[in-house]
Amino acid sequence: MQLKIKIQYYALMREQAGRSEETIETSSVTPADLYGELSGRYGFTLAREQLKVAVNNEFSDWSRPLEEGDAVVFIPPVAGG
């Protein structure tokens, strides 16, 4: 089954993906699967263990099942302040 998922990219992820956002049809069922799929496409240099993930503007577990229309953000190590 294919899901339509929106992905927004920030900072290093944005530069490596070459875009700020996109909507894709995917067979990935979790954010973890999706990160693997997109790493294959864009060659992300960060390992998933170094990131956090947000779904629909809230921190999420990597194993949460994705749903049609979800918005996903991969969060590289932060550096505010």
Partner: protein
């Protein structure tokens, strides 16, 4: 008005400070984070800050709410700049008012430390050499085999070492 905010222009500390005024408060403590000219042996010429604002504001609000629960203070605010900043520009401001000074110092320290570790904000340093890099991301990228060790480092090595005096 949210207690945690972003601004694309210079932080107006005089205006922000006014929001902390309270007849029961005996004083206030503030922290300003400034753009420093060096980091890890490199000469820094400017910084770019970027935030995932929808989540950053939520997480920032949670930090300020935690500070108000943990410490008996009157008011707390945090304003973070985004965009391109020059040397000595103010990147972040935290202000706390309270009845007595002790808890205001403690709450201010708690807020800036938590903001640095938890809020999805990133900074890219531009160096005199012409290079640039995302702070806390590029070293990891160079050694993906050591993901765990590096993640540990991110959570416990305060970013304060990289920018604030």
């Amino acid at each position: 008005m949210m207690r945690f905010r972003f601004t694309q222009t210079a932080i107006d500390t005089a205006l922000a400070r006014r929001e902390l005024l309270d007849p029961a408060a005996g004083g206030y403590v503030s922290f300003e984070g400034w753009v420093r000219d060096h980091n890890e042996g490199q000469e820094v010429t400017r910084l770019e800050y970027e935030a995932f604002q929808e989540l950053a504001v939520k997480e920032g609000e949670r930090i300020l709410a935690e500070a108000l629960r943990r410490f008996p203070v009157k008011h707390a605010l945090c304003i973070h700049r985004v965009g391109t900043l020059a040397l000595s520009d103010m990147a972040v401001w935290v202000g706390v008012s309270s009845v007595h000074r002790g808890e205001a110092f403690d709450a201010c320290r708690f807020i800036i430390d938590e903001v640095k570790h938890r809020v999805p904000i990133w900074k890219k340093e531009h160096y005199r050499s012409g290079d640039s890099g995302w702070v806390n991301c590029e070293r990891c990228a160079a050694a993906p085999g050591h993901a765990h060790a590096h993640e540990h480092e991110h959570h416990h090595e305060p970013a304060a070492l990289t920018i604030h005096k």
